[in-house]
């Protein structure tokens, strides 16, 4: 691919120590929880990547590492070609913070309940020393108008609890955009919103990110939303990326049995459509102390001996996307190297 | 700190002030006192004294502090304090004037002994030494009188009062005629315990204490309540009689062969509480054990003894290194007779250990006294039972001392009969009297205390190093008012270390200054003191404040 990626992630992992009860034998036991395990991808400038997967598969953890809220256990993270995995220097970190922003799942939580909207939007300006007093007011006004909160002045002195979820989510977006980021991560940005307003926020995000040429990572368990928002899609399962590629290929011609199941499980708003059979067994196993081999082995309808022995490598499928499954015939034999997981 | 309300009277002070007034100003004097909470009377007296000083134009400030802090300063920082509240408590051996007269004022004890005020008068020293070795009572009395005169005219102490001891007993329980009053000690004494005759169902004497019994140990002088118990369990060769004079007790006779030789005949058939006989060996052991170093507190009382010879199983001869007038009181009436068969091995054992006999607590203390140990519930009560085999058996069956730290409660308990002898009452005498008068069962007996309350002045420091200043202060302090206000009449104004309760030793006419503020001012003026325009007292010309800031 011609364009240099803004985001490049190589073998990123995050492990947690599991907790347990003092007296009772817990169902999980002690051990290491591999929330994210060896994840790699690249996102070129202006592109958007959707990450989907079941609850607890490590989506949020990945997002947090992308925003340097978590220090990865291993692997590296390149931003604009620069390795910033272990970036500590204050100024540089601040610079990064200005360029990478997050949009939160729960807008009711994302704003300080004791701050007015104006105050919340002012905070990043103060932190980054942007503008004079008058200019700042203008910036905030602009930012609110940009997210369709018009007339902006009406919202200045409001507190979060005085606003609706849809409005708040827009404020959250405005706050993310007010520092002119080049990279935006949206972690389930609309899952807390009502259906009727959800579309509004999504459309707004879509147009703004396109107009501002933002590189985005969009996290959701809702594949239909991802298909609506993103060019590329990564499917995660228990800390690992199992399938990644163009949204079209991944969602229309899924190769990994997990992706297939996931797609089959999405209910259709069309009452006449026959629901598909979801070929998946059991529950998500405990992410603590995973067995050898493929993480999906216990639920997969196609499991064979090799799945229990060897962790499948990511390989390119004939449809273009990259898949981690022993059962998918590789498009060409060469093992897809991490650096090559370009999308 | 606290200030009194009275303003200095400037009417009779000179309007013109001396030119060098500034340098002659007397610093603010500090009066140490225990806090009102723990010693209300001392604190109130300090207030009254500070008030009197203010009237003389002297700034005084009361510093309240716990007793430990106060004593640390008074004992160990002997030149750092000005005035302090203090008291001398009544103890039987203090019925002999020696301790007060010698220890408190002899210059030899000024450095690290009892003479913490730093009183130094060679003439007095001589008298104090003389009375110690004057065995003849009349002769000694003159010396004691003279000593008191000197103390009074020098105003060695700022005497306040001899409080009145207030005891209450239940006359439905004890025959009033059988209750014995002891000079300077009141009715709470061993003679009452021995003599009190129960007249009803209640055969026990139940009295109160307001602090814990610390130990029941014949070799350890601990708290005063401990001594109430120990003197009952352990006999002594002599005991102080109700007239304040020692009389033979376990000894049948005490005969002074010479000024330094005393022959002691033991009573026959005395037995320890464990049934073993009391022998001369035991007596000798009792007097020699302190010399081993394992009984440090009793050592001072036996050091004077040169040797003890056993003449026969019931006769001993004590030889003193030099004559000592107070020997009967301070030694023969003081040391407990201890069974050698019990304590001998203990003392031997202790010789190799850091501890000494003071820390040894017998499970069941064994003495030969009129009461036997029965039970001790820590912080609750001590129970003794009558030793019917004693040569002077008590009439009560049991002697029980209950620890009741709460004064209100002790009052309530004597009223409702939970106790029948109020042995300690630090509270308001007037109230006690009202309660007793309102009760058909109770009788109150008050006695002027052997001990006394005073304020010590530090003779090492100006202005107290000036007799005139001390005399003026003494004149200004209204001791009658103290007795009336602070003690609600339950005290007698004091002017001597010897209590009026001891007429044999007390000098009735002492030259202790009085006359109030007017008289005080006169004394000061005569001594050259002056006042500045604001009415503040100034040192006499040529003297300046050296300790001020």
């Amino acid at each position: 691919m011609a364009e240099n990626p803004i985001i490049e992630v190589r073998g990123l992992s995050k492990h947690f120590e599991a907790r347990q009860h003092l007296f009772r034998k817990s169902s999980t036991g002690a051990g290491v929880l591999k929330a994210v395990d060896d994840v790699s991808f690249r996102i070129p400038k202006g592109h958007s990547l959707g990450i989907a997967g079941e609850s607890g598969c490590g989506k949020t953890t990945t997002a947090k590492m992308l925003l340097k809220l978590y220090e990865p256990t291993s692997g590296s993270f390149l931003f604009n070609g620069k390795d910033i995995t272990h970036l500590r220097a204050k100024e540089e970190l601040k610079q990064f913070r200005k360029q990478a922003q997050l949009m939160f799942q729960n807008p009711f939580e994302a704003l300080n309940p004791r701050f007015t909207i104006f105050r919340s939007l002012l905070e990043p300006l103060i932190v980054h020393d942007i503008g004079t007093k008058e200019e700042r007011a203008a910036f905030i006004k602009q930012a609110l108008e940009q997210v369709n909160l018009i007339p902006a002045e009406n919202f200045f002195e409001k507190y979060p609890h005085q606003m609706s979820g849809g409005q708040l989510q827009r404020v959250v977006l405005a706050r993310a955009l007010i520092v002119d980021p080049i990279f935006l991560v949206a972690d389930e940005p609309v899952s807390m919103l009502d259906v009727s307003v959800r579309a509004g926020v999504l459309n707004l995000m879509k147009t703004l990110t396109e107009r501002l040429q933002l590189t985005t990572v969009y996290i959701s368990h809702d594949l239909s939303l991802i298909s609506y928002m993103c060019e590329q899609t990564a499917i995660m399962y228990l800390g690992k990326v199992v399938e990644i590629g163009d949204t079209m290929s991944v969602l229309q011609k899924p190769k990994h049995p997990y992706t297939q199941a996931l797609l089959a499980a999405v209910p259709s708003p069309d009452p006449d459509e026959e629901p598909e059979e979801v070929l998946i067994k059991n529950h998500v196993p405990s992410p603590i102390n995973m067995p050898n081999g493929c993480h999906f082995q216990d639920r997969c309808p196609y499991t064979e001996a090799i799945c229990r022995e060897k962790t499948p490598e990511l390989r390119q499928a004939e449809t273009g996307q990259i898949v981690a499954c022993h059962m998918v015939t590789p498009f060409f034999d060469r093992k897809a190297e991490r650096e090559e997981h370009v999308i | 700190t606290s200030e009194t309300q009275t303003q200095p009277k400037s009417t009779d002070t000179p309007k013109t002030e001396p030119a060098d007034a500034k340098s002659r100003e007397i610093r603010t004097l500090q009066i140490l006192s225990r806090p009102q909470a723990s010693a209300p009377d001392e604190y109130e007296r300090a207030n009254l004294i500070a008030g009197a000083m203010k009237e003389l134009g002297i700034n005084a400030e009361i510093k309240a502090m716990p007793y430990e802090q106060q004593s640390d300063i008074v004992w160990y920082k002997r030149d750092e304090w000005d005035m302090t509240g203090w008291q001398m408590a009544a103890r039987p051996e203090r019925l002999d004037p020696d301790e007060f007269v010698y220890n408190l004022f002899h210059s030899s004890t000024a450095k690290d002994g009892y003479n913490f005020i730093g009183y130094n008068n060679p003439e007095y020293d001589k008298i104090a030494e003389q009375q110690r070795i004057t065995v003849d009572r009349e002769e000694r009395k003159n010396l004691i009188f003279k000593a008191q005169e000197l103390i009074a005219s020098d105003v060695a102490y700022l005497f306040n009062v001899h409080p009145k001891l207030k005891y209450v007993y239940n006359h439905q329980v004890f025959d009033p005629n059988s209750v014995v009053e002891m000079a300077g000690m009141g009715i709470r004494n061993i003679w009452t315990y021995l003599n009190a005759a129960p007249i009803g169902q209640q055969k026990n004497m139940v009295l109160n204490s307001n602090d814990s019994v610390q130990a029941l140990n014949p070799f350890y002088i601990s708290g005063s309540f401990d001594s109430w118990v120990t003197e009952l369990i352990w006999d002594r060769l002599m005991r102080i009689d109700k007239d304040g004079l020692p009389k033979p007790w376990a000894a049948e006779s005490v005969t002074w062969k010479t000024d330094t030789q005393i022959e002691i005949k033991l009573r026959a058939n005395m037995k320890w509480h464990d049934g073993k006989p009391v022998t001369a060996e035991d007596v000798k052991f009792s007097y020699e054990a302190p010399l081993t170093g394992e009984v440090p507190m009793y050592k001072p009382f036996v050091e004077i003894i040169d040797k003890i010879d056993i003449k026969d199983p019931l006769t001993l001869e004590f030889t003193l290194k030099r004559p000592w007038a107070a020997f009967e009181t301070a030694s023969l009436s003081k040391l407990n007779l201890v069974p050698k068969h019990i304590w001998g091995p203990i003392i031997e054992d202790l010789k190799n250990k850091p501890e000494n006999a003071e820390s040894y607590q017998e499970k069941t203390p064994i003495g030969s006294g009129p009461f036997k140990y029965e039970n001790w519930k820590f912080k609750e009560e001590v129970v003794l039972s009558a030793n019917t085999e004693h040569f002077s058996p008590p009439k009560i069956e049991k002697w029980i001392m209950r620890e009741i730290p709460n004064t209100e409660a002790s009052l309530g308990m004597i009223e409702n009969g939970e106790i029948n002898f109020l042995a300690v009452f630090p509270g308001d005498g007037q109230l006690l009297q009202q309660k007793v008068e309102a009760s058909p069962n109770l009788t109150m007996v008050t006695t002027t205390d052997l001990g006394f309350q005073f304020f010590a002045m530090n003779h090492r420091r100006p202005p107290f190093n000036d007799v005139a200043f001390r005399r003026a202060l003494a004149a200004a302090v209204d001791r009658d008012m103290m007795a009336q206000v602070v003690y609600k009449g339950f005290a007698e104004p004091g002017d001597s270390v010897i209590s009026p309760a001891l007429p044999i030793w007390k000098n009735p006419s002492l030259p202790y200054p009085s006359g109030g503020v007017e008289e005080a001012k006169k004394i000061l003026q005569e001594a050259g003191y002056e006042w500045d325009a604001a009415g503040k007292l100034l040192y006499p010309a040529g003297k300046k404040e050296e300790l001020g800031k």
Partner: protein
């Protein structure tokens, strides 16, 4: 006669700001063996409605009118002691927060035993047996009966609650948002469990959700609620395919469809009215792109628009035009935010 008939039910909350008319004249019926989906925006009164039906409202909630006929009895008039018998035995409700619906300090089996022994009058052994059956029925490992609720995943808890709801074989099960907050695969599993039970046990089901896809997949009928009122009611395929109310149309536009990626999502701007002081006319008027004069002061009533299909709109007569217009993005843009 229907198993459950709700007639003009009104449920109000006393709040510091005044009376909040959370449910304001709702009528519907559920026949034996059928399933009704209740959809609507957050806060439109769905939970209030079902809680009102079995009278477990919060302290400040009152039933202000109407009746609830269940199995021939009016639940609103029933004595408390009597309705206590009905609860769970004849009618069980899986509440919205099923995740936190089990007493956290007892193992899950205790909840089953309590119900089965106390209300079902089973012996302990029978109760355990029955609990195991129920667990198997919803696809849970019977070993898990001894676990504590917090040791269950969200989907498992939801299934356990379903099992518990079925413990006494009630005639009607009401499930309040049984799959919200579950991810797709688990959601799919839970819905499958419900569907199977419906098929096998002939369960009558009322299911609340705000996801019309869920309704489309699971229910026979659907009622669309808006601001305390039902604005459209009918068989699922009719309501979703031939929506008669602008709100329902809007709702359909707002749903992304995985199979039709080219379509744009359209949102309904604005937010529902304040229930303490609802507008006089149609409650949706302020957000409706087809609003006319009458909408502002006259409340439309729920009228039949065909085969068991009802809707409440003043412009039902021009419905074909509206339906066409509703598909256009610009139609919905005109509404001021």
């Amino acid at each position: 006669m229907s198993l459950l008939e709700v007639n003009d039910l009104k449920i109000y909350y006393k709040t510091s700001r005044g009376i909040s008319k959370a449910v304001d004249g709702v009528s519907f019926a559920v026949d034996q063996g059928r399933s009704l989906g209740l959809v609507g925006e957050s806060g439109c009164g769905k939970s209030t409605l079902v809680k009102g039906i079995i009278r477990v409202l919060a302290g400040n909630g009152v039933i202000a009118g109407g009746s609830v006929n269940f199995d021939g009895n009016d639940l609103t008039k029933m004595a408390e002691s009597h309705i206590r018998q009905v609860r769970w035995k004849d009618l069980s409700l899986i509440p919205q927060a099923a995740m936190d619906s089990l007493n956290p300090v007892y193992p899950v089996i205790d909840s089953f035993l309590e119900i089965l022994m106390l209300k079902g009058k089973l012996s302990r052994a029978d109760a355990i047996q029955r609990a195991q059956e129920l667990f198997t029925m919803v696809g849970l490992d019977t070993k898990r009966l001894r676990y504590y609720p917090h040791e269950f995943s969200g989907g498992m808890k939801q299934r356990a609650m379903i099992a518990l709801a079925l413990a006494l074989s009630p005639k009607l099960v009401i499930a309040d948002e049984p799959v919200t907050a579950l991810d797709v695969i688990v959601q799919n599993q839970v819905l499958r469990v419900l569907k199977n039970l419906k098929k096998e046990l002939g369960l009558t089901l009322v299911m609340i959700t705000h996801d019309i896809s869920v309704v489309a997949e699971t229910c026979d009928d659907v009622a669309v609620m808006y601001a305390g009122k039902i604005i459209e009611l009918g068989p699922v395929s009719r309501v979703l395919k031939h929506s008669m109310h602008p709100y329902t149309m809007g709702l359909a536009n707002a749903f992304p469809n995985l199979k039709k990626t080219e379509s744009t999502l359209i949102s309904i701007e604005g937010s529902p009215p304040d229930l303490v002081d609802p507008p006089k006319g149609c409650r949706f008027a302020a957000r409706c792109p087809f609003q006319i004069e009458a909408c502002a002061h006259e409340e439309p009533s729920l009228v039949s628009v065909g085969d068991r299909h009802f809707a409440a709109c003043h412009r039902l007569d021009e419905i074909a035009v509206l339906q066409a217009k509703a598909k256009e993005v610009d139609t919905w843009r005109k509404i001021p935010s």
